[in-house]
């Protein structure tokens, strides 16, 4: 472990947990297969909100052209590469050095231009960087200090920009599905991926974002349909949900 953790919101135990599985990030049949299946619905949500906000075409494969974007907790780059293909200038940051290495390796292979850094959002804000779009997808439930983390994310959004966050709700249903179901029964996620007491309710998240000076203007649940083996948007925010703020 060489990650510098002082003065950040990163929980070192969490970083170590993800390093173990980082090598298999891009294997659609591997331990990250749930995230791969989850990816199209997250991407569609981001793309459609961006198209609405900046008045872009959703079908032309270039919806994010010219926009700068940072993906906080980018993992192996599963969101960064598609968003870069859609035209955004993408920076992916992650505190786990293995994740950053995996992501760099993959974008060298695929030829999709993404800048990866082992860094935290607090560092980028301290450097004075800001972005049209800030993403923190499935990250809040892993950070040590939610309020400080969300404040840093809001600070990184350029005026007129968008902040996207996705996480897990702290409900009994989320405990049953996301931890007992996904980790222990179905084996979709490695055991210990999530801790229920770190889950955040939509209200807590919206409040934290408001304290950072932005306002949540859309919230969507994401639900799994076992018959089609697909995830889709829903009004049900009891387990997985996404918000966008401006």
């Amino acid at each position: 472990m060489t990650t510098e953790t002082q003065g950040t919101t990163i929980d070192p135990a969490e970083v170590a947990r993800f390093e173990k599985i980082a090598r298999t990030w891009w294997d659609a049949k591997g331990p990250m297969k749930t995230l791969h299946k989850f990816n199209p619905v997250r991407l569609a949500y981001i793309r459609d909100q961006v198209a609405d906000h900046w008045n872009r075409d959703t079908r032309d494969g270039n919806t994010l052209a010219g926009l700068s974007l940072v993906d906080v907790g980018c993992g192996g780059g599963l969101l960064c590469e598609p968003l870069a293909r859609l035209g955004a200038t993408v920076t992916g940051i992650d505190p786990a050095p293995t994740n950053v290495e995996v992501a760099k390796l993959h974008c060298a292979e695929s030829g999709v231009p993404v800048t990866y850094r082992q860094a935290t959002i607090e560092q980028l804000v301290a450097e004075g960087q800001s972005f049209d779009i800030v993403l923190a997808m499935e990250v809040v439930e892993h950070v040590a200090d939610v309020d400080a983390f969300v404040r840093a994310c809001t600070a990184a959004v350029k005026p007129g920009g968008l902040l996207f966050m996705a996480t897990l709700n702290r409900t009994m249903k989320a405990f049953a599905l996301a931890i007992v179901g996904a980790e222990y029964i179905l084996g979709w996620l490695p055991k210990g991926t999530h801790q229920w007491d770190k889950f955040v309710t939509p209200k807590e998240l919206a409040d934290a974002i408001a304290r950072g000076g932005l306002e949540v203007f859309d919230e969507k649940g994401v639900v799994y349909n076992p018959l089609s083996d697909k995830w889709s948007l829903s009004r049900d925010r009891d387990v997985n949900y996404m918000v966008v703020a401006k």
């Binding site: 990816n39 494969g61 270039n62």
Partner: protein, 411 residues
Amino acid sequence: MIPPGQSPERAAIVIGGGGLAGLTLALALRQAAGGRLKVVVCDPAFATPPRPDDRAFALAAGGKRMFEALGVWDRVAPQAEPIRDMVITDSRLNDPVRPVFLTFAGEVDDGEPFASMAPQGALIRALREEAERVGVDMRAVAIKDFVTGPARITITLSDDTLMDAQLLCACDGGPSPIRRMAKIDVVRWSYDQSGIVTTIAHERPHHGRAEEHFLPSGPFATLPLPGNESSIVWSERNENIDALLSLDDEDLLAEIEKRFGLKLGRLTMKARPKAWPLNFQMARRFVAPRVALVGDSAHVIHPIAGQGLNLGLEDIAVLAELIAEQAALGLDLGDIDMLETYERARRTPTVAMAAVTDGLNRLFSNDNPALRALRDFGLGLVDRLPSLKNRFIQEAAASAQSPRLLRGLPL
């Protein structure tokens, strides 16, 4: 293997094979993502103008709509002929009157025929012109080799160019070298029949009627072409082929007359017939990592129902739509989940069509009296049940759940 030090060119999708399937797929993909995908089609045949070819295809309504959506139908239409109705008989060669068991008279929609005859040459020319116009990169080279990696497939072309792509599509026909390189096995058997194809002229108009006579040695079909001409697709046992093809024009015409009859007046031969052996072939998988089989490389079926090309066009409509979805989300165009979705979507209809055509051929291409009684009953039944027949016709068309291209909508 990849020689060190050479940096590959980049494409989104490389297509091996520039025939009907390859060019149609390329045009469809150029409609995806606002025309942003770089599509390269490799075929040594691009070095020469299309060969004259007497084959004509019975395009189902969905396929015709797809060519409309891809902007090529206008150029094919003057040489195409709608099939207005179809008569199917089950008979022996010397039966004086052939009982009609099944007639398809029908339009899919207002004024839209359920199928159209389109000459292969006209289709290929129109596809090449349109591909040129919309910026498909056509190269007169073969696909020599490829290496699949986690984020790309690196393809070696026969001029030793290296090309990185997200997906390689095999549109290289029944023998498909790409399928072999991808190590996908096939299930295959020979029908012990050959297909003879030629064009005849007749004195009186055909009024858009197609006929198929199920004769003991194989089905004999006539399909309407523009003017007073018809295309003949004649399946015959292999043991008879050499003798038939060595006949001079006059004697061969006499054989055709025996099968076609003289109801449209005197016949003349427009081209020397060609024959090719008929096989059944089905790939065990339609996909491999970063490789998709499309059209004949995935399946070759008996021409008894004229469905070979239509199946291939359906493959293209499904695959192109999946790729367009991926591209609109910036996702990997060679994603294994997407490829498996394509395979699942195409497997069932392909196997069903293969089984029907194989079964029809086995049922009809013999002179067994018991089977004859059974099939007479079967076909007669179909004709008496209008709803069932409508379903046959509609299957030749497309429904609201069909891929966009088969409904005539751009991607």
